[in-house]
């Protein structure tokens, strides 16, 4: 083992990072479904899941078990190869794209080897992400075609047209950011956003100096929602018209793979929006004496959440909740104490702001789903070609002009 490590440090370290990342991502995906159901429920004045475990916290586990043990029905006349390939493609491509996301500025050490915080750090990180995203359409298209059924076929066709159309706007909308950063590398894109206007307003790309990338962000986020097949652009699975669209004929774990793939790409898009437009792991507060207290924000938030969980758990109605919630709360308080220690305090800043911003975007995703009605198909195409594409092209031209004029 140690010989192998000495000869191929990159392989071993990457392997460890991939395994850890998979575990973290799978848990995050499971609880993202819980988060979405809870938020949508509260938007609609319901409680959401609350029976399986305290506050429904065991619901993802119950759902996962249900998917595992359900019978996997394969309809007659399907194209077997493509039918089994499609969900696999959906999930694996969505998970691969997360490997390119950097989560923090510092290097971490695994088995004594320094390595970047994130699985891969590519020179062409952003391009590679788009390459993987552009392949993601095959999962949906193949599922629709191979099911040998009319509704999935319609869903697959819609999805193919939609994703090809919105990919253009998605790619064009980030060109402004790339011009400002001068690099495809996601770390360098974040590094280019360092600094503050007038000492307090962060120089994130959304407020960048020659030209704020507000138009770019608007196009990016709209196109990204369409690329991930989420409401209000989920025409591929519009249940009022197409039963369940491309995954109508899928059951049990194959369905769950589509589901997880969709949530994984939601996380990727949120990370990307954070990195490209909102400064990634950069803190919104300047590094001055006056703002030193912001370093203790992670501690304060964790401690507050812990105390709230303990208090809530003590008056929870079920016995399980009375035990589990205070234990969770105590764990959070312990984490808060750990995070305030000098060594970890600096390390936690980057990931804290990064994950905080990503959570905000995930909330917006769910919020949009809970409040906006679905687009009609012709409206969808009109928005993509007649609004987003011209606006993102205009953004490219305006940004280039502003950069040339600003340089003079």
């Amino acid at each position: 083992m140690s010989d192998f490590l000495a000869q191929h440090p990159i392989l071993v370290v990457s392997g460890i990072k991939v395994v850890v990342m998979m575990l973290v991502m799978m848990t995050a995906l499971a609880y993202l479904t819980w988060f979405e159901r809870k938020v949508v429920a509260h938007i609609q004045s319901r409680w959401g899941p609350y029976r399986a475990g305290p506050h429904g916290l065991l619901q993802p586990l119950a759902d996962g078990l249900k998917f595992l043990f359900k019978e996997g029905v394969t309809p007659a006349g399907v194209d077997r190869f493509a039918y089994y390939l499609a969900p696999f493609l959906s999930l694996s491509l969505a998970l691969t794209s997360i490997a390119l996301i950097p989560f923090g500025p510092q290097e971490i050490r695994i088995l004594g080897q320094p390595t970047s915080f994130g699985i891969a750090d590519l020179n062409i990180g952003l391009l590679f992400l788009f390459a993987i995203t552009s392949l993601g359409v095959y999962g949906v298209v193949l599922a629709g075609w191979s099911s040998n059924s009319k509704y999935p076929l319609l869903g697959g066709l819609r999805s193919a047209a939609q994703m090809v159309s919105y990919e253009l706007a998605l790619t064009m909308s980030v060109v402004g950011v790339l011009l400002l950063a001068g690099s495809f590398n996601l770390r360098e894109v974040i590094a280019a956003q360092r600094g503050f206007h007038w000492g307090f307003l962060p120089r994130w790309n959304i407020l960048a100096s020659p030209l704020p990338q507000v138009l770019g962000f608007f196009c990016f986020f709209t196109a990204a929602i369409a690329e991930t097949n989420r409401l209000p652009f989920d025409l591929a699975e519009a249940e009022s018209e197409l039963v369940a669209g491309f995954h109508t004929e899928y059951s049990s774990f194959k369905f769950a793979m589509f589901f997880l793939g969709e949530y994984a790409s939601m996380i990727t898009v949120s990370c990307l929006a954070t990195i490209l437009f909102f400064g990634g792991w950069l803190s919104p507060f300047p590094e001055t004496r006056f703002f030193v207290w912001t370093h203790y924000l992670p501690t304060a938030l964790l401690a507050a959440a812990g105390v709230w969980l303990i208090l809530d758990g003590l008056r929870y109605s079920t016995l399980l909740g009375k035990i589990v919630l205070p234990v969770l709360g105590l764990a959070l308080c312990g984490a808060a104490a750990l995070v305030s220690r000098p060594g970890l305090l600096e390390f936690v800043q980057g990931p804290f702001w990064f994950l905080g911003k990503v959570l905000v975007f995930l909330f917006i995703y769910v919020w949009v789903r809970g409040t906006l009605p679905r687009f009609r198909y012709d409206q969808l195409m009109a928005v993509g070609w007649k609004l987003l594409l011209p606006v993102s092209l205009a953004n490219v031209i305006l940004t280039s002009l502003a950069m040339v004029v600003g340089k003079r």
């Binding site: 062409i124 788009f130 390459a131 552009s134 392949l135 298209v141 090809v164």
Partner: protein, 164 residues
């Protein structure tokens, strides 16, 4: 070095297998999928040569856009399984020798080139170099190509409008 060779062999085998499968498969969608495999493994080969940008663009443009349209059209027309026909006499008697001749020529050319030419500079070529070449040294052919594509798009539009 050995790791690079292993990756090369895997990618090359995938590309060849995909190409053979593209011809052998009888369903158009399966052929299209095989072509995607070929394109993705070619992208891997480019990456191995240090051409990061070309590799990513290969996937985005060919595998991600052009092939999606191919698959889209096959799905839209609902093309079924193709029937096998007997090879024409011409293909049977002239095709095979010509194919062998072509392979031999290629092998000869590559074998001679490998011994006489110095290996290309290794290491990733920065995207900036490529951009400089495209937009400064070769800007005229580049713009000409884009005008050609624009004309093709307009032509397609005109044809589509006339039919409806």
């Amino acid at each position: 070095m050995s790791a690079e060779l292993a990756v090369f062999l895997v990618l090359a085998a995938l590309a060849v297998a995909g190409a053979v499968s593209l011809i052998v498969q009888r369903h158009p969608i399966h052929s299209a999928l095989s072509l995607i495999v070929v394109m993705v493994s070619l992208a891997g080969l480019y990456l191995l040569l240090g051409a990061e940008f070309i590799s990513a663009v290969q996937i985005i443009v060919y595998a991600g856009a052009i092939m999606v349209l191919f698959v889209f059209v096959i799905m839209l027309l609902n093309a079924g399984i193709e029937e096998r026909t007997n090879l024409s006499r011409m293909a049977r008697y002239v095709g095979l020798p010509l194919g062998v001749l072509l392979m031999a020529l290629l092998a000869y050319a590559i074998g001679r080139g490998a011994s006489s030419q110095a290996p290309a500079a290794a290491g990733p070529a920065p995207t900036k170099t490529l951009a400089m070449m495209l937009f400064q040294d070769f800007v005229f052919p580049f713009e000409l190509t884009s005008i050609l594509i624009l004309i093709a798009i307009l032509g397609a539009l005109v044809l589509a409008k006339r039919e409806s």
